[in-house]
Amino acid sequence: MKRNPVVFLFSLCPLIPAASRLAYGLILGIALLWYFLSGLIFREMIRKMQPGDSGPFLELICLAGSATLYQTALQFLFPVLSVSLFLYVYLSALSYLLLLSIDSFPVPAGQFIPVVAFVPLLILFSAFREFMGSGTISLPVPGGLHEILVFPGFSDWGLAFWGTAGGALILLGIMAAIAKLVRRRLAGFRRNA
């Protein structure tokens, strides 16, 4: 698969409302990796059954099943966060990037698995948003969130906007423009070198 930043950006879009904190990003990132691994197993099992045209639908039902298992584990480990992320645990199981990663596996040497490359991006973006919005970094704990204050006063300065869905989309747009600028400059530098 080609390294296409647009696919990455828009795979992040459905998770934007949920990934406003590092703790949420971590939980959703692990969820995506779990779905990927279980999806590979289900794909092989379904291929062996040779179901014909109904194969993709069976794969989706199995992915919904692995999302249910993940949600059950989340309810046991982090009961408070499982309520906040209830909808997104299921939505991320049906994401385009995940299905693309499962279908294109195994990838040829030198190429990367989209979902594996996407998870660090999701975690970094959620950490950045939380840091920009409230100056904290949070980790999941059974009672909810454990917040580590990095910069006091951030939430009082009106920066909490970056933690909202609107703020995150604008932030993503700015980051995309910076990424384009850097890539263009690097390409120019390589051409001149």
Partner: protein, 187 residues
């Protein structure tokens, strides 16, 4: 009035597209100049409303009371897939489904079943999601059409500016929630 408020809430002030993220990536791709997203709207609406109608009673009368609510996501995917196949067989001209649309469709049905308190409420949420998607995609389509004829810096062309527009649209739609005149209308 309660149902109108429901539709307004989920389509504008708490837009399922921008606040829940349902169909956000689809909205980006469908808002490109030359896109014919409106043609697909009736088919998606039909699929969503039919699936919600078929799932509501088994879910509320069997799955939830007998503590089998955990089967709801699988039941949603199964019923949505069957409904989608049925529509493909009955109306072949509406059979072109993309991966982004599938996520939007399953997500809409699942959200309607999870958040609604009654059958009519569930239908309202599903309808509001379609309205929200149409409203935001139409607005983005207009924004992108204007952008395609504007002179913008090369680094901001395409995805960056569309994302910023989506963010501004999100703020604009959310403002309905705090506007005093809308509160007066609904009370």
């Amino acid at each position: 009035m309660l149902y109108i408020e429901d539709v307004f809430f989920y389509s504008v002030s708490c837009s399922t597209l921008l606040v829940y993220g349902l169909g956000l990536e689809k909205s980006f791709f469908e808002s490109r100049p030359g896109s014919s997203f409106l043609v697909r709207i009736p088919a998606v609406a039909l699929e969503c409303l039919l699936s919600v109608s078929l799932l509501w009673f088994p879910a509320s009368a069997v799955l939830v009371p007998s503590s089998f609510a955990c089967l709801l996501p699988m039941a949603t995917v199964a019923v949505c897939s069957i409904v989608s196949l049925l529509i493909q067989i009955l109306v072949p001209s509406l059979s072109k489904t993309t991966a982004g649309e599938r996520l939007f469709y399953f997500g809409t049905v699942f959200l309607s079943l999870s958040e609604a308190a009654s059958f009519l409420d569930a239908l309202c949420i599903a309808a509001a999601t379609i309205v929200s998607f149409t409203l935001a995609t139409g607005t983005l389509f207009t924004v992108r059409s204007r952008l395609s004829t504007s002179i913008v810096p090369a680094d901001w062309k395409g995805a960056p500016l569309v994302l910023v527009s989506m963010g501004l649209l999100c703020i604009g739609m959310y403002s309905a929630d705090v506007s005093w005149w809308l509160q007066e209308v609904f009370h």
